[in-house]
Symmetry: C2
Subunit: 298 residues, 2 copies
């Protein structure tokens, strides 16, 4: 393969055998590995059952955002799936090692993957991969969003914890199918709606809604993931005197709001231009400020 | 490691690069590989998203059961997930090659795995692994079953196909969590119940209910997998003059039935002794006949 100036820098892979305690063989808690070489057993439970959890962290100009909150959420997901508690200190060090080993790029996507491990072995498999982020600039200027039934009510998080709502699992086939359906409808992303009529979250994002003096998101108790970006923004907005918090909202509430965003750690704040066929107000100034707040440039 | 007469025969792994069409590099459609060596990329979508499908086939005294129906169901799952259609002939040949390569054992479990493939490459990853089945004898003598809310109604299969009900995906974290919850309740397995009150299926099994002159299972249109074992049994029972077919049933219908089983291709027919706290009639003669019918010994 010839090299050229348009080549994408190579991805970086860090294996983390010490993610749930020191490795039994006395080896280092994490080490760089070759991402071009197969690393996983066909009997790893993440492969045979989607039985694992993950976090996706964005790094901007070399600085990862919300590492602590992401790893706290990983620990929360581990608890919901009854996985051994991850060693957040070791994993954080491995995240920084992955960034250090990667070429300097403006936007990096870092995935922390944590599986139940090889069948019968009871030791989590953990690795981190870092790669150049996709070009999310068009997405950040505005997206059409299709609302899609999630089939579940907002009460299952409390009543039926085995449904794993609120855990960021590696069983994401439904999330991927929802994005395909949204694209089929001419949208760029989806917004899940509960059977009791309340909006939930995107397949890989958190909802933020602007209504008058308030900025609102779906309550975590409704079975959505606790969003790392939304927490950053709500804290900043509250400091500025806005009402900021959680509220169960209907699709109609969002459609008649003063603006809404889907938030993610790599795509940042994407203003919703259309929710199904309804046009929403878009405030690009506010969106730019959210981006600065999220990347720490504010 | 020293060898002894109690050693379990080694598992067999067959990679199937030709599972969705001839490999571009002209290599064989399938080949044996070393299951002790890592074979999968950390960027395979089955790893990063649980984005794949599978089938589990039982082989008894070297003869696999229902290979055709299993691979037809794999094709159905592929269609529901918008994956490239699997080449059923190539995969069937690979299944037989896996059995041929494995030591002769009374009961073998053969998994056919079919992933969307490595991110950005658009080529499914497929492999087959064969290993000695767990000892299911105690399970076949009778199981306690806990009913668990599935959170979804029986109408989502038609109304919300992106929820992938009825597809046998590799996003099985919820199924595994349900089995853990059932065990916590002192049961050996779970039976999912829809929000509209109808029973669905087990996390890895199909329900069969005996009521008078009828043998009944949940309609596929309710979003359950089309069971391969249940189809074998219903056809045989119909030939014997029983009414045999699909019906939406409540938990109460099962609890007051003349007997019920969870069916699977490796565990065969497990009679339910207790559904939650209700004792059910158990007919071990009929269960033995089901086992013979399923393994072809009848």
């Amino acid at each position: 393969m010839t090299s050229s100036s348009t080549d994408t820098p190579a991805p970086v892979l860090v294996l983390v055998p010490g993610a749930a305690g020191a490795p039994a063989d006395g080896s280092a808690p994490f080490q760089l590995a070759d991402p071009a070489v197969a690393q996983l057993s066909v009997t790893d439970l993440v492969v045979t059952r989607g039985d694992g959890i993950f976090e996706t962290i964005g790094a901007f100009d070399g600085t990862p955002i919300n590492v602590g909150p992401h790893l706290a959420r990983l620990a929360r997901s581990a608890s919901l799936l009854e996985l051994p508690a991850p060693d957040q200190e070791v994993i954080a060090a491995a995240v920084y090692a992955a960034i250090e080993a990667h070429a300097d790029v403006p936007e990096l996507t870092i995935r922390v993957m944590y599986s139940r491990g090889i069948e019968g072995e009871d030791t989590p498999t953990c690795w981190i991969d870092a790669h150049v982020s996709a070009d999310w600039a068009p997405y950040r200027t505005g997206i059409r969003v299709a609302s899609l039934d999630r089939g579940l009510s907002t009460t299952v998080f409390d009543e039926s914890p085995w449904l794993l709502q609120g855990a960021k699992t590696l069983s994401y086939a439904v999330n991927m199918a929802a994005v395909r359906e949204a694209k089929r409808r001419g949208a760029q992303d989806a917004l899940f709606v509960a059977t009791d009529g309340y909006v939930l979250e995107g397949p890989t994002s958190t909802l933020l809604v602007h209504r008058g003096d308030a900025f609102l998101t779906t309550p975590v108790s409704a079975g959505v993931l606790p969003g790392t970006c939304v927490n950053t923004l709500l804290a900043a907005l509250q400091d500025e005197g806005y009402e900021a918090g959680e509220e169960l909202m209907s699709l109609q509430d969002v459609a008649t709001s003063d603006g809404a965003w889907l938030l993610s750690s790599t795509r940042l704040a994407a203003p919703i231009t259309h929710l199904d066929d309804t046009e929403l107000p878009v405030d690009l100034g506010l969106t730019a400020r959210f981006e600065d707040l999220l990347t720490g440039r504010a």
